[in-house]
């Protein structure tokens, strides 16, 4: 007697430092693949639903920082479990009623394909809506940062910009950034990983050290 084994594939959620899950999705800018964004950074973010107030403030906020993000070679793409017709109607409504044109694509993830791959649905909040998730994907399509916010609380656009600036600074200069870092502030020199390097570090010039593991410098 043949038995049919059910193979359950556990979803693998994105992890920092690993390739972002590839997808192909219907968007307000046509069918897009994640690989279409190769070569530029991408902020992929989800929102619970079109035609809701907190989401509207966030979309206005994202649109207002879009130019600055593009100057940093960073694109934007939104997502919710709504149809592309709902997205188009909402984008037109935001432009007409709020005076803000939405210039980035929005994924219509009706089959929850992308939401599932990226772990955007939090059943404790809602089983039919994505929470407020942000995935920062670099120009090599690696996940570099993730932010998860609840349905109730809008995200901070200054932090989105600051995060991209910080990550790109880290990549360019091989440094780390301290709490509350802003462009122009001192950066952290990565701590030495061997005793020999620690001994050399305390003798190094050109940086300010509180101790062998805690050194800052100007860029």
């Amino acid at each position: 007697m043949e038995t049919q084994e059910e193979v359950q594939v556990m979803p693998k959620l994105p992890r920092l430092g690993e390739p972002a899950p590839e997808f192909e999705a219907v968007t307000t800018h046509g069918t897009l693949k994640l690989s279409d964004f190769k070569g530029s950074w991408l902020i992929l973010f989800s929102h619970p639903a079109d035609f809701t107030p907190v989401c509207t403030t966030e979309f206005i906020g994202f649109a207002q920082i879009h130019d600055k993000l593009r100057e940093m070679n960073c694109e934007l793409m939104g997502l919710s479990i709504d149809s592309v017709y709902s997205h188009i109607a909402w984008a037109r409504n935001v432009e007409e009623k709020m005076g803000q044109k939405l210039t980035f694509p929005i994924i219509a993830d009706l089959n929850k394909d992308v939401a599932t791959k990226y772990g955007m649905v939090m059943p404790g909040e809602s089983s039919t809506e994505t929470s407020r998730c942000v995935f920062v994907i670099d120009d090599k399509q690696i996940v570099r940062a993730m932010i998860y916010y609840p349905l109730s609380t809008g995200r901070n656009m200054d932090e989105m910009l600051r995060l991209i600036q910080a990550l790109q600074t880290v990549d360019k200069h091989g440094v780390a950034t301290p709490a509350n870092w802003r462009p122009g502030d001192q950066v952290i020199v990565p701590p030495p990983k061997t005793q020999e390097m620690a001994e050399e570090r305390v003798k190094e010039k050109g940086m300010e050290c509180k101790d062998w593991y805690f050194c800052k410098k100007d860029l």
């Binding site: 800018h29 897009l32 693949k33 279409d36 070569g39 593009r70 694109e75």
Partner: protein
């Protein structure tokens, strides 16, 4: 479809892309020439190639005779 309407006509951005691809160009060259983001150009190239209006040669794209005729339709 983002480039080809149900009635077979093409959008303004598709016309710009076809017009720019009169000689073989890479996606990056096309994006720079028409001022569209690279991700949109890549998506459009996929669609227009599938519709037979562009052909891919190596990593460059050029308008086909069908594509050139579509441009003339206006």
């Amino acid at each position: 479809m983002a480039c080809v309407n149900p009635d077979g006509t093409i959008t303004a951005s598709a016309k710009a892309l076809l017009g720019a691809a009169s000689e073989p160009m890479s996606p990056e060259e096309l994006a720079g020439k028409i001022g569209q983001p690279l991700f949109r150009v890549r998506s459009s190239l996929r669609e227009l190639t599938g519709a037979g209006l562009l052909e891919e040669s190596g990593e460059k794209y050029v308008a086909t005779e069908q594509g050139k005729a579509k441009l003339k339709e206006g």
